[in-house]
């Protein structure tokens, strides 16, 4: 699958062959850093002064590069497809190689960042448990009531959340049994076939 680059995008990228490889590599580093932490316009101004161009040009260059990298990572295009997509820009061979290297080096991390953008439910992070026995309460003395207290650590969109819950031993065994069955499902022929055939 080839990437479709718009005219505007191609214009922005046209800045890249005008500077050295070291600068392009630096732009690549800035692009990934911006994906990780967010943009910082001051960087554009510094670079613009050093290269003697307008800060807009630098910004477009970096943004074009960012978009190229994120689209390629999102679609998980092959090396060959990436090379062919970039070929239409008419860049020198050395620049093409550099861009490919940037893609391959950063693809995994970019995909991780992108996966955090998806709508997500709270996801399991950790579980702490404790066995308690209730001996008495205000309304009933001399009890022996075992309970398992659970602290469930969850993650959602980077936020850490904890919930404290309780259950009795019988329900705990039931939970374990049900969830083990759930795990077993992945090993069935049906699921294996689905996983094998969706590529």
């Amino acid at each position: 699958m080839l990437l479709e680059l718009s005219e505007e995008h191609k214009e922005h990228l046209a800045f890249l062959p005008q500077v050295d490889s070291a600068v392009v590599a630096e732009f690549g580093r800035i692009a990934v850093e911006f994906l990780r932490r967010g943009t910082n316009p001051k960087i554009y101004e510094g670079a613009a002064r050093k290269l003697n161009v307008s800060s807009d040009t630098v910004q477009h260059g970096v943004e074009g590069l960012t978009y190229l990298l994120t689209e390629s990572s999102k679609l998980m295009i092959s090396e060959l497809d990436f090379q062919d997509s970039v070929f239409v820009l008419g860049f020198p061979e050395e620049l093409n190689k550099l861009l490919l290297q940037l893609y391959l080096d950063n693809r995994k991390e970019i995909r991780t960042i992108l996966s955090e953008l998806a709508p997500s439910l709270p996801s399991y992070h950790n579980l702490e448990w404790r066995l308690d026995v209730q001996l008495a309460s205000r309304s009933l003395r001399q009890q022996i009531k075992p309970a398992v207290t659970i602290k469930l650590h969850l993650n959602q969109n980077g936020d850490h959340n904890t919930r404290v819950l309780q259950t009795d031993p019988a329900t705990l065994l039931h939970l374990v049994q049900q969830l083990e069955q759930a795990l077993e499902e992945m090993k069935t022929n049906h699921c294996r076939r689905v996983v094998r055939n969706i590529k």
Partner: protein, 187 residues
């Protein structure tokens, strides 16, 4: 067990065959247990024809006294001898003491369950349901190709709520907890 004067007075009236004949006594006793243990019981529990001849104020007083005593006895897990001693002090005759102890014995389990369920506790997990899905793509990321589990724990607070969560190592940890539980029960 600390019981108020009001309870004691109520019981003294209950002991008196002049105020409560055998039949009335039995009915009132059963009504007291019923009010406490039967979720659908209401004021009509005292509306029995054989209790009509008794002054309603006295009836309510004795009913309240009996109910209070039953709860206190249940709370402290009173045994037959404790019950007998107190009832003797209230001038109950042998027959009424026996009747009270029998009724108490019959209702003891329900009473303890009721008392044990009172009180604040953490949200209690009652059930789990799960869904296995295979994630193919999102609008941000294509070719994901990974399985995911969606786990919902059913929880009873005072109303039923469900918290959906995704599972990874949840089973491992829950298994550790249940193994420790088994070991603890064997000690």
């Amino acid at each position: 067990m600390e019981l108020s004067e009001s309870v004691q007075k109520g019981f003294q009236m209950l002991a008196d065959p002049g105020s409560f004949d055998s039949n009335a006594f039995t009915l009132l006793l059963r009504a007291a247990f019923q009010s406490l243990l039967d979720a659908q019981a209401d004021e009509a529990v005292l509306d029995h024809p054989d209790l009509k001849h008794i002054d309603p104020v006295v009836l309510k007083h004795c009913h309240a006294a009996a109910a209070t005593y039953i709860l206190e006895a249940g709370k402290h897990r009173a045994d037959k001898s404790t019950l007998s001693t107190y009832l003797e002090d209230c001038k109950f005759d042998r027959e009424r003491i026996e009747l009270f102890c029998t009724e108490y014995q019959n209702n003891k389990n329900s009473l303890e369950i009721l008392l044990g369920s009172i009180g604040r506790s953490l949200p209690h997990i009652t059930d789990v349901s799960w869904r296995l899905e295979y994630q193919i793509k999102t609008n941000q990321l294509h070719k994901m190709h990974r399985p995911a589990y969606l786990v919902t724990l059913s929880i009873q607070v005072f109303i039923d709520k469900s918290y959906p969560i995704m599972k990874c190592d949840l089973v491992g940890k829950l298994k550790d907890a249940s193994k420790s539980l088994e070991r603890a029960t064997q000690l």
